[in-house]
Symmetry: C2
Subunit: 404 residues, 2 copies
């Protein structure tokens, strides 16, 4: 099954047979897809990875790189991550770091660690689909995480208790979130921390897109803000930071990390050991070498390329979209979130777009834990050049106008 097929499977409200019909259309030449939330493979640092694999697979190093290794992860990589986190404002040691197989695995482990059936997870409406998929295995109830709405914390707790469980964590992606592209201000981050403190719950900070900022100033991670609040004591922090190399270096190598208080990391290490022993050794060694060698320069290049694509998408939306359509203006990441006029349906629009305009995107409803959001859709600008983006947005405007 192709990646497009996997995305299509997630399109809520469609039957498998309908999806198969859609996929036939996706195979046509000339199809423009803004569906996949994936990096542009032309930008992968493949040569650097090839060199790193060569260096790791010499007779001198094969005994390490192809052998079992420790569950917490390759120490030089954890050291690199500790240094990286320090630059973001988080002071930590390698003992605060667990290497995971992508940040998806971190979300799975954190769901397993915190959730009992019927417990409540606070998530955005919409939120990252993969987080819902990971948490769903532990049968939680979801409640809408409301930011900037002065929701009293007790109301979350009361609703969770009425449903037979407790609020266990708030999950959010403060920088250029998937799917909305929205970034939380410093004040909003502080509000969430305050709410978490009042409820005595964990905060799961998904920082998947954090390095990919195209304008504005970096805002400190929630973990950095909490650590500062708590006099630098990371072990007193309730925020768990999930990072990944998937959007910066390569998703196919499956290397991500969690930074958290030591007692939490120790529990996660045991979970990792029981679930898959450790993330692939060679991948950690190669990722360390490539990161140490070129992380900043590579990120600078990604920012330049993706930034131009974001600009192209925003300009084309401005130029073509009819009244009644609105969209986010992401400062980074890969996504623009588009809201259609009330009453329009993103899934129906996708079908029309595929048929009439050879155009693909992800309908927004799948990103809502309660199945709302039918009049929204997600557009990714990461894999298409500026001219394709301009043409794609013109097509999208046409199909929206024809559906109005």
């Amino acid at each position: 099954m192709t990646i497009s097929a996997q995305f299509a499977k997630r399109i809520s409200g469609m039957k498998a047979s309908e999806i198969r019909e859609l996929l036939k259309l996706l195979d046509q030449p000339g199809m423009l897809s803004f569906a996949g939330g994936i990096p542009d493979p032309a930008l992968f640092p493949a040569e650097a990875f090839a060199d790193a694999c060569q260096a790791a697979l010499t007779p001198e190093r094969q005994a390490q790189s192809l052998q079992y290794s420790v569950s917490e992860g390759y120490l030089p990589l954890r050291e690199w991550i500790a240094t990286h986190m320090a630059r973001l404002g988080v002071t930590c040691t390698p003992d605060n770091v667990l290497i995971t197989s992508g940040s998806q695995q971190a979300l799975d482990y954190l769901g397993k660690l915190f959730l009992n059936p019927g417990d409540t997870a606070l998530v955005g409406w919409p939120t990252y689909l993969g987080a819902l998929a990971a948490f769903n295995a532990y049968e939680p109830r979801y409640d809408r995480l409301r930011i900037g709405e002065n929701q009293p914390p007790e109301s979350y707790a009361a609703a969770a208790e009425a449903a037979g469980g407790r609020v266990k964590f708030a999950y959010l992606s403060p920088d250029f979130a998937n799917p909305t592209g929205v970034t939380l201000t410093r004040a909003e981050r502080m509000q969430v921390l305050e709410m978490a403190e009042a409820l005595d719950i964990a905060v799961l900070e998904d920082a998947a897109y954090q390095p990919l900022r195209y304008e504005g100033e970096d805002i400190p991670p929630m973990l950095a803000l909490e650590q500062a609040q708590k006099g630098g004591d990371l072990d007193a922090c309730r925020t768990l930071y999930c990072g990944t190399f998937s959007k910066s270096l390569s998703p196919g190598l499956r290397v991500g990390w969690v930074v958290a208080a030591k007692p939490v990391i120790q529990q996660l290490v045991l979970m990792k050991q029981a679930s898959d022993l450790h993330s692939a050794t060679l991948n950690q060694i190669a990722t360390h070498q490539v990161a140490a060698q070129m992380f900043d320069a590579h990120i600078a290049n990604l920012r330049a390329v993706y930034g131009r694509r974001r600009d192209a998408m925003l300009a084309a939306l401005e130029a073509h979209m009819p009244d009644g359509v609105s969209w986010t203006r992401p400062e980074g990441g890969m996504f623009v979130w588009l809201t259609l006029p009330e009453g329009m349906n993103g899934a129906a629009l996708l079908q029309q777009a595929l048929e009439q305009e050879k155009l693909a995107f992800v309908p927004g409803q799948a990103f809502f834990a309660d199945g709302s959001g039918a009049n929204s859709l997600r557009l990714s600008f990461s894999t298409s050049g500026e001219a394709v983006i301009a043409e794609g947005m013109a097509r999208l405007a046409r199909v929206i106008k024809s559906a109005c």
Copy 2:
């Protein structure tokens, strides 16, 4: 933490402080370790993996090898596995195959798929420690899988029901099991299948060591025997086969697989997608190339080298061990299981062995779900040359004699 430290952590009945003391001893020069159940890193096909990584990381292929891929796994690798399974007597298609991050991940997924808290898992006394670790997360009860004892199946069911759950599966490793080295006969395999049929439970066949046979004829996998019984219909089979490249090509790349009925595989694919999206793409591509190129020749070499080491260990045990000590005669794999005179304690013996003889092994008690087996220990012959094995067994005999 080193691998030795991880093994030491698992030594049941020891406190962390005691283990730390032991580890200091392990760092001494001249220490002989038969503890780790790991392949000899000198035998890794590192050059072939280096070539495969180079080939996968060209500009033409980087878009595949470093990108996200499908949760079920890289199709050419699943095709290779289907062909490999056919040679073992199992007829299947790539749709019957899920690629996992080592067979440890398969055990975790199967625990998650089958076990609710209080359900019963039938396991050997002793059994693979990592299987217990994986299953423990799902809070099962364990019952002793008795083979060749004419245990009536209803007695398992009645005991499970009395404990508030149901028997969900039997877990076993029919070829050269970790930790005992014991292989089940064809008749014993058929008995387990019959029992599983009577109880209507799954059979988890852990084939980690299957390729490593040093004498005797291959016995068909339980899945092959069941498929033959069921007229070739794999989808009617209750056996789930867990394979891995960890003992044949490399454990550090974390590539394993499950072969099972399609409906089971479809459920496991969804589980994989939610838990870590997919196993690392580059690793699957490289493993496929190396397997396609040299699996048989490489296995032939491993068999020759490990076979000589097994012979050396059995000869040295024969030469040195006092009366009252018995051990298994494995036809393959990596382990000899040694039973001490009743009343002796493997963990206490390890402490003495480390101190007096600079010798390490794994006390057997940790492999028993009920904490029995104190008078046993596991010896691995995979990582030491014949002379070291001879010297090590002489030391072991001395320490046993001194403890008698």
